[in-house]
Amino acid sequence: MKTLLLVRIAVRSILKNKMRTLLTMLGIIIGVAAVIVMVAVGQGARLQIQQRIDKLGSNLVVVTPGASRSGGVNMGAGSSNRLTLDDYEALKRESMWLSSISPMIVAPAHVVGGSGNWRVAVMGVSTDYSRIRSWNVSSGRHFDETEERAMRKVAVLGQTVVDNLFPEGDPVGQTIQLRDVPFEIVGVLERKGQTAEGRDMDDVILAPWTTVRTRLAGRMYIPQILGSTDSKADIPAAQQEMKAILRESHGLASYDEDDFTLKNQSELAETAQGATEVMTMLLAAIAGISLLVGGIGIMNIMLVSVTERTREIGIRMAIGARGRDVMVQFLIESIVMSLIGGALGVAAGFGGAALLEKLSGWGTVITPQLVALALGFSATVGIFFGFYPARKAAALDPIQALRHE
């Protein structure tokens, strides 16, 4: 109850010096606003990366070729190109956990058709591919299993290819030449945008893997086998199973290392998230420093204030304020100042983040936790930097303080 009276005393004292209070709070306002804006930008970047990763497909497990050793020299990841269609067929035949599976045969090809020509990666995939990558067609259709089995020369075009070869409109039903082999266009893929690394995912032509393997003569490679499970929870089991199947298919002895790599979406996501996490922390640290400087500003003003108000403190003590009362008054003053400063800083942070988003186009995300964190931090700054001046005030000798001019 008595604390309430002390709060009143402190608030009265703050209001007496409006200009000084505002200037003191400015440090906290800027500090908190900076924290909010910086972290909002970091979290916005994180969200965008998350969305891009989600676009890659759901519950995805990717098999990539592993490292090969030649006489003790490790050639690094991808150096052993032992990923084969046999692996794909073994996985398709034996895996219980995978609900969808597709190989990826990449055949770089020159495509001629429509209004010109274009160089593109033709990808031979199974009918599961569209499901695994959750990639639908915007017009026409995907090829079906009959076409896959019959090695039909059908193709589904990415938007970038369509933009370059058929700028005037829908190419479904028309024919293109891939390495001089005519393919019928049965569908056009939805626009998917760029990968996080900036590669254009729409610059692609999909065809049945059986067709690519048999009809397109020349260079081709299998960089990946893609699989997916029904739910995220199945991924660890699926991965274990795939590993066993692939080791057997590759004839590895128990002491041999894997010559392939299994990666799932969450690992991919973690890597990317880790990078943005570091970025966010860095931004927050820079902003935190400005908050710290703001806190030191409060301490400075409070120290000056204690000296300046020594006589006032003496008067208060003479009429019955205990050391503790004086200390609590000064502490409350600094806490109230930093809390009000924090609240104004949050408002400024919201404004700043919105402005930044408008000017730069970066996404920003402000979570309630962030606001709570910023306010909590500014209150802590108030207590921490208010404590020393408050204690100094409380320790004053009333007689000396009264004599102070």
């Binding site: 109850m1 208060r316 003479a318 009429i319 019955g320 304020a321 205990r322 009333p398 007689i399």
Partner: protein
């Protein structure tokens, strides 16, 4: 119980030590102040009257000796207990008024209540207003010290000293910063309060101010030199009435 002692001190000493030199400001003072008295303490500077005032006001603790205030032994109490004694049993009036600047008269008078447990139980505004009324400043409650004359400021300070209804009112050179007319006004107020039963102890070096009291104690070199009743007592209110009106 009209003759109980509000203040009783026995063998009070106070020695200030700075480095290796010790200064004995008080060398064993015995004194009793009865309820309803108006005591003036006189003495040249360095006689120890300020030290005695600080000790009586519980702003300082004696080096040795005993001190009972209002029947409670207060020597040897801690900082916080002394603060509470100052809050509830002592009212201070200073030479320099010592009001909080940029704070209304009412807020200044209310201040002791804010530091008191009693302040939680009463209507603080009302109590403060009553105290201001008793010193004749009911029409100046919202004025800040800078908007008040010296005499008015001192009356606000007296109201603040009285608001907790203390056992004793301690005044340290209360007229030191005032002209003679205003000094008389303040002394008339003191005499009026004293007549209503407030025990007052004031420090002064002016004889005509001391003559307004009922008893004078003179200090020299940390000892009591003289302790005698005032006869005849000066009536400040009547002298004020004899002064020509300003501007008349």
């Amino acid at each position: 119980m009209a003759h109980e002692a509000v203040i009783r001190i026995e063998g009070l000493t106070r020695t200030y030590t700075t480095g290796s030199t010790a200064v004995q400001a008080l060398r064993g003072v015995d004194l009793q102040v009865m309820r309803g008295e108006m005591l003036a303490i006189m003495g040249a500077s360095g006689s120890g009257k300020s030290t005695l005032m600080n000790l009586l006001g519980c702003l300082d603790s004696p080096t040795s000796g005993n001190y009972w205030l209002d029947g409670v032994r207060v020597d040897g109490l801690g900082r916080n207990q002394l603060a509470e004694i100052r809050n509830t049993r002592i009212g201070f009036v200073f030479q320099g008024f010592n009001l909080l600047s940029r704070t209304s008269a009412l807020d200044n008078v209310e201040l002791p209540l804010l530091y008191s447990h009693r302040g939680l139980k009463v209507d603080r505004r009302q109590v403060a207003l009553e105290a201001l009324r008793s010193v004749g400043l009911a029409d100046r409650v919202d004025h800040e010290p800078s908007e008040l004359s010296g005499g008015q400021q001192q009356r606000v300070a007296i109201a603040r000293a009285l608001v907790m209804q203390p056992a004793i009112l301690l005044a340290d050179e209360p007229t030191g910063n005032l002209d003679s007319r205003t000094s008389l006004e303040v002394m008339a107020l003191f005499q009026d309060l004293n007549a209503k039963g407030v025990t007052i102890l004031l420090v002064t070096h002016e004889h005509d101010i001391a003559e307004c009291a009922t008893r004078v104690v003179e200090l020299r070199d940390g000892h009591i030199l003289r302790d005698e009743p005032v006869t005849p007592r000066r009536d400040a209110a009547r002298q004020l009435a004899l002064l020509p009106e300003i501007g008349a």
